[in-house]
Symmetry: D4
Subunit: 171 residues, 8 copies
């Protein structure tokens, strides 16, 4: 049985292959903070610091992580390299490049071979990666599930307000 | 009949947009069965039975589901339509078509707008969808996590055996 | 038998998944206004306000709409979600994104499964969506058909004027 | 004022650029027949018989057509060539080729310039083309709209039956 | 006025679907002017002025044209529409769009059906279109062939000069 | 001054990068034969026999060729390699591969740099390559132009016959 | 200083991510055998046996390898995972999949981040991978360079023979 | 002046098809300079100066080059044209264009036919091209291999420093 502390949630890791990905991934951190979910942010490269990637992934469950968000661009191997070393769910965020617009990162992240899944979100989909991580934690956490529902209700209200505003504008 | 008792696992739903997707998705069922995870298989269409999709998604958490796998081809809206109606994690499986090879289903599944994540796996990635669902349940379930680790070890042994066989063949 | 009023045209709905799509879709409103066709503009999201999308679509025919234009970007499900709930013709406008340039929205909009058509126009093709809606209304409306013919003649005259201008410039 | 006959529906034209497209387009004819909508099938090529394409399009409204379905593959210009010569709604069906899988036909059909819409359906989407044509005629025809609704209900029932069958198979 | 006398060259037509294409196509005019080949520049739209496109194409040989350059973007039908009405060689220039970067125009221009060729050059390849037209005229015109050879020699010399400059810069 | 013989046409060369391309290119030979245009068929590889490619291209005009058709697959450099060594018009035929369907060959053939045009036809477009070559020769050859017009008329009659047949089949 | 033995060549490793890749990679082994270059064939998975991949790569130089050929399909991380653990040149062979035709494997292999090169060859380009490995060894090995030159001459002669055969066939 | 004496390294050639490629390729020169590897920079065009390309490639081994880096955009034939004339390893750098983003250059460079390899790196991958060239020279050069290892260690340290910095920022 896993015990981290009475009331504590498991942590989410936000790992990125380069510090330049932070401009995209800051939204993931902001989203987790807003939902009150503990998290850590790391820069670990599948190619330049492969041992750290392996060691981090192998220790993650024991260190109290519940899911790992991995963001990388181009031939984006980070999510896969982490997935290969943990059975925690790994969420892949393909980061847009200046050449192929992130399509190469999307395919490198999502087309994993059988046996080794990566839960891939949209190109530059940092916010959805954070929400997906929370949904995973919320499977067994009614309070967090409730927060996610409120978040949905907020979004619906925002759309409804815009609907009202624009509808009237054209009446 | 599945019963969510004290120590029991949450169920996984395997939902597909057409019964023709079953040839691809049977692997997901087989994988869950092999890991001893309870599941149900459903045919629900985002476009042809939209109310069922909504109702199923809205009731899923209360009915004991922990995650929903949604498989669809072409303009694959099923995973998104379910995600819009639950805060359970939704895993999308893009199904290969005879025209655009599943690329259209991949993009329709993964490029969700901010606020509404779908955990997308590879085109026809039924096995990985099942494993990802188990990884989600295993965040808080050490026994299932252990099974997943054994599964990894089995894969590694199978690769090692093939390595031995082919290495010798060329020596 | 449908009766809206003796001489009145059916209305066109312009629905968009986000208020940020308005910069693209304003052209549709302008086109309908110029042709004297009544219309309403709405912000409804397939994912964030799915009930509104359904309710709007189901009531649309009774409320006097003749066709619905639905604009969305990325995994653009809006047109399909509306089409699933009405037998009015639904016109889909894929909106260009900053990553995949609208190709993902185009495929998500056009590759609908058999039984559930969406009349798709070009990426960011707001003007053509409006004209197509008018062409539909004009099947049985000779006056509107005449206006569309005049619009064509205006375009032809504009091209001819440019032809004259540029031809002379290079003589 | 257009008069075709008291109770008669406007006709639908199914035009294809090559007789080899008939294997795909027969479904459109079958769908219209099943719904009791009159139609004609023609082989007219935008490139090999351009005058026929123009003449057909220009005369179509007067001859009682309400919408024109145009199917073509590769650099699929047929729908556009017809649209250029009528203000009737033109529905484009991109036909799959042996090389680029219909993606080239899709882009050639859907990416029309402002002013000249083509209502594009999926690659090889013959059935949806027919249904879309009916939806256009049904804007003002309650009986046809009712038939389309029944068609939807039939599809929903078929899905529900498959759902029942497959659900039980895995219980 | 161009006169096709005994020794005179045939003219080249530069036709574009929109005056906005002139920024790309001006290079074609400049290239022809530099090589002393007579030409005319026209704005004719396959969709907005289809009769002019047909009439221009049908009369082109008799009016002394030897080849026709046709430039268009998006669902670029202009080259094909002209090719359908003349047996003069038609050179297609796909023009880059703001959405799909000209790939759609390339496919719409080059993937012509058997029987109706369009000699397609690169996206925005206005200069090459002009040179290709000259190569066609030069099949039987030794003087023009000589000019084209000189043009090649000039390019080679320019490259050699750059080679010298950059080679020294890094020595 | 070029002299080949009083009444003789210039020859067309059909060059292919591999003898496996002959299955595609035989149609080009058949088309030229049917039109009475002299031609030669060669196997020359831009990469495996680069000197032959260069020598052939440099001598082609003097040997009486009027245009060169070059067919190649994958990274299709043949047309460009020949174009670099002659000012005769070079027609490129991208040949479909088993991996990327000819899209790679299309881009490798058509996206030539400024100064060095290749007249590109459709993937596997052997027939159109032959017709385009004839159109080039026919610029100054009224008899050949007449044959091409007859060919067009034959195609139109074939379409019209199919139109009649299929129209009646559905009446 | 590396010493393997006076006259011995360094070995080439052919590593593949799955034994199913052997049908493609056997050609690489055959090519090396024909050129007399020693090699080993291994099955090592970046994701299923990541430690073996790392250990193999780290030991490769000391064990006498001169270059490593790595073949993998889908999200092909193998070449990158090996490259991250050795400064020997790594040659990546993207293997064709049943869905995206190897384009995903190509992008996953070639679009490596700065600092970590993979020498990528064509999709299923096993033969070229072997030849490239030999070219690397032949930088300092005149005898192997001579064998490669003979191989080129053989290819040229084969093309010339086919040229002769097909040329005569059409004379 | 570079002198290939007894113990000296072979030179690397950096060849580009246009001087406009220098902005991308300067990084390759900088990388080689930092590693102390002699090199030359040349502007040679496969199409505009084909003889220079051939002559350079044929003489390269005798002139002391160990590998050739060839950079080109669009229908990038330069690497292939050089590879066709030497058995030295040729490294291809596809250069990004303003239209197809370098995808066309990537495919034109990497999809070489069997028998004629080009070691392709990422689009605009100048730095990796230089590192790959060094890895080739380092097969038999322990000192250069050591420098490459140090370079890897530097990269790892830089990542670790960024990891520390960003980790603390979010703690």
């Amino acid at each position: 049985m896993f015990v981290i502390g009475d009331d504590s949630l498991r942590k989410i890791a936000i790992v990125m292959g380069s510090d330049s990905d932070l401009s995209v991934m800051r939204t993931a951190a902001d989203t987790l903070k807003a939902l009150g979910v503990p998290f850590a942010v790391r820069v670990i490269s599948a190619h330049r610091t492969p041992d750290q990637a392996r060691d981090f992934a192998r220790a993650a469950r024991a260190e109290g992580y519940g899911a790992i968000i991995a963001a990388a661009g181009k031939a984006a191997h980070l999510a896969g390299a982490i997935a290969a070393n943990t059975t925690l769910p790994v969420i892949g965020v393909p980061v847009k490049s200046s050449t192929l617009n992130g399509l190469e990162a999307l395919l490198s992240t999502v087309e994993m071979p059988p046996g080794m899944p990566v839960a891939t979100v949209a190109i530059d989909g940092a916010k959805n990666a954070a929400l997906l991580a929370c949904e995973m934690l919320a499977i067994e956490d009614a309070a967090l599930a409730e927060k996610l529902s409120e978040n949905r209700a907020d979004m619906a209200r925002a759309i409804a307000a815009k609907d009202e505003e624009i509808r009237l504008q054209f009446e």
